[in-house]
Symmetry: C2
């Protein structure tokens, strides 16, 4: 099985030992505490589940600046993006050696983690701007990732953390949320050697399904981990149980036995395009994937990034040998009327748009809302039916 | 795949829809609330995860009495044991139509479920005694299950529930706790048709491992679900992470790829021997197992039950056709020096005790504490090493 990044064994920051867990919880109630940003809380969840292993906690300013610039910490270790706990006000914790971190995403703001404080550092506007530019490749406050990053405070509190829970992810998505530890365990149980991971946050139509089949076949992978980004619903999103049911039905009908796992992870998207693609690859290696599918516009937003920037960064910027996971460079896929099958669009250079079965998201939603299944060249009928049932139940 | 008990699809009581979940949580904060017993809270977890499907909530007195007597509810549906929410004091909830149920096993006693109250009924001492006798086959207050059952109040509040969380089980055992929904999903993904379940709460030594191999081979099962009873540690218990690591190592080394899953469930043991065995079989069918191993003294305690009562009840008392899951009747297993392999002791009638490699739990703990691995005929060396490391770390 592929090693985690930077070490032989995964180093999750969740406290598994029950006695230690309870002692830490009791201690935490007596510690000075701060309310984290949502982005920082998402990082705590990832650290807890082993996804960011061997990183032990939040980075100090020197590491964050170094990582933003070159994806390398001051001690030479690789990491794709700053992992910061940025706060507005640190007066009350100036002298804290141990600090309880409160979760902004749960009612009552329970403590999610305890930190051994290594440093509390002011971050200048210039340093924020530099990191923003390096990580997001823009300082445009209209970029949602940039806006979220810069809405945080200007003090970086850093140090190793011990994680007490997985925020709302485990509670809201009990059948889908997985730690990197769990996925590694299951890959080992299933006996998969070559495993490709696929990122999604939506139900999968035929083009996505076939992309996975193509990747598995070309890479010789016996296993696929469908790894869903879990999170709070945004307007227009398909609810998690509907999305999960649609994906599970697809796996049941169109993947051979023991060839696909349906799982999810909890994180706030950065929309950082190429840099986020590297982060995505990093934590897929940690969960035990040997390959990771990166398509056009991966983790991007608007037109901030070129369509293949998220692929090219692996060749141009990721330090040699930093990652063992391999990238499967994909393009959009669609059903070719000429060839009678789903193809990667870049591999059908003689095709025009009219040669493909293409439907906009708006059009598909409209059809489903009216109880009409998209053509079989676009959606599996069983998957379409689950989505139709959802849209119709919503309308009634 | 095997159907759940009593219906075509599993009917978990956990509220998966995010909007509904949040609305219910908000509503619950304004409802009259009661603190449940630990036993009732365990039932809520099982109802939430689909293990008790199609049961929708806590039974009324007539159903509980009927189930205690004949494992049949008043409407004729099968259920192995009363599922009661027994309270001391119901003055404050006399007129409640909806009721929030608080979890005694979590700090702060958060709400675990909301009930549509169907009835609040006084339970007489005689009715309690009758149920105790029928379910536990004794009224001896020295029986731990009897003591726990009778320490509860004398008012049964009943009605369907909607479950908000899985108590401490999901939080304390994030990599092992599974709902019946999850296990069904995974069995479907793995493509297993015949699946045998094995109940444990301890690390597995060679005898347990070989029992699973024997069951799989004789039953023609391609899959094994090791299903651990998760719960609070009792003195002398091996901590969960150590137990899990030992079992996972065994699976990794001694089971073929895609033949075993390591999972767990959250419940308070009843120690009700035969009746509990039927309940265990019930929820194993719901999680998708076609077969269930029941050995000598299953779920018993002391000498309250005959060694094979928990097997015989399936032939003598379970109504015909009530369960589709099949029981694999096992005996203790041990390594035979004569035959050079692990056998079921009842299948070696010519053997005397001296022909087997038998070690008491006390002896094994003593050896491990002194850094000595039990003989290879008793423990796999990789498993023993994990346990030695634990005992030695505790001693230092």
């Amino acid at each position: 099985m592929i090693n985690p990044v930077g070490s032989d064994t995964l180093q999750p920051r969740f406290v598994y030992d029950s006695d230690r867990h309870q002692a830490l919880r009791r201690e935490a109630e007596g510690l000075p505490s701060v309310l984290m940003s949502s982005q920082a809380a998402g990082n705590a969840v990832m650290l807890g589940g082993g996804y960011f292993s061997p990183l032990a906690g939040f980075m100090g300013l020197a590491d964050a600046l170094s990582v933003a610039e070159s994806m390398t910490m001051t001690d030479g270790r690789f990491f794709p993006a700053p992992v910061l706990c940025l706060l507005d006000d640190v007066e009350s914790i100036r002298s804290a050696e141990r600090l309880a971190l409160r979760d902004p995403n749960m009612p009552g703001h329970p403590i999610i983690a305890v930190m051994d404080v290594a440093a509390i550092e002011a971050v200048s506007d210039e340093q924020m701007a530099t990191m923003t530019r390096q990580v997001y490749r823009t300082e445009d406050p209209g970029h949602p990732g940039v806006a979220t990053f810069n809405a945080q405070g200007r003090f970086a509190v850093s140090g190793p953390i011990e994680v007490l829970n997985f925020s709302y992810f485990q509670e809201d998505f009990p059948d889908t949320f997985r730690t990197a530890v769990e996925i590694r365990n299951e890959i080992a149980e299933r006996g998969w050697q070559r495993v490709v991971a696929f990122q999604t946050r939506n139900p999968m139509h035929l083009a996505h399904e076939e992309l996975c089949h193509i990747a598995m076949e070309r890479l010789g992978c016996e296993g696929l981990v469908i790894h869903m980004l879990l999170g709070k619903l945004k307007p227009g999103d398909i609810p998690a149980p509907v999305r999960d049911a649609a994906i599970r039905k697809m796996v049941e009908r169109y993947f051979p036995p023991n060839s696909a796992m349906v799982t999810g992870y909890g994180f706030d998207m950065l929309y950082a395009g190429p840099r986020e693609a590297v982060l995505h690859a990093y934590f897929r290696q940690n969960m035990g994937a040997t390959h990771f599918i990166i398509g056009r516009d991966h983790a991007g937003v608007g037109d901030y990034y070129g369509p293949f920037d998220a692929q090219e960064i692996f060749d141009k910027e990721v330090p040699e040998g930093a990652l063992a996971i391999e990238i499967f460079k994909a393009d959009h896929t669609a059903y070719s009327k000429k060839l009678g099958r789903v193809v990667m669009m870049c591999e059908a250079p003689d095709h025009t748009k009219e040669d493909f079965v293409l439907l906009s998201g708006t059009k598909v939603r409209e059809m489903l809302s009216n109880g009409i299944a998209p053509p079989a060249e676009f959606s599996r009928p069983e998957v379409a039916q689950i989505l139709i049932d959802y849209y119709q139940s919503r309308a009634s």
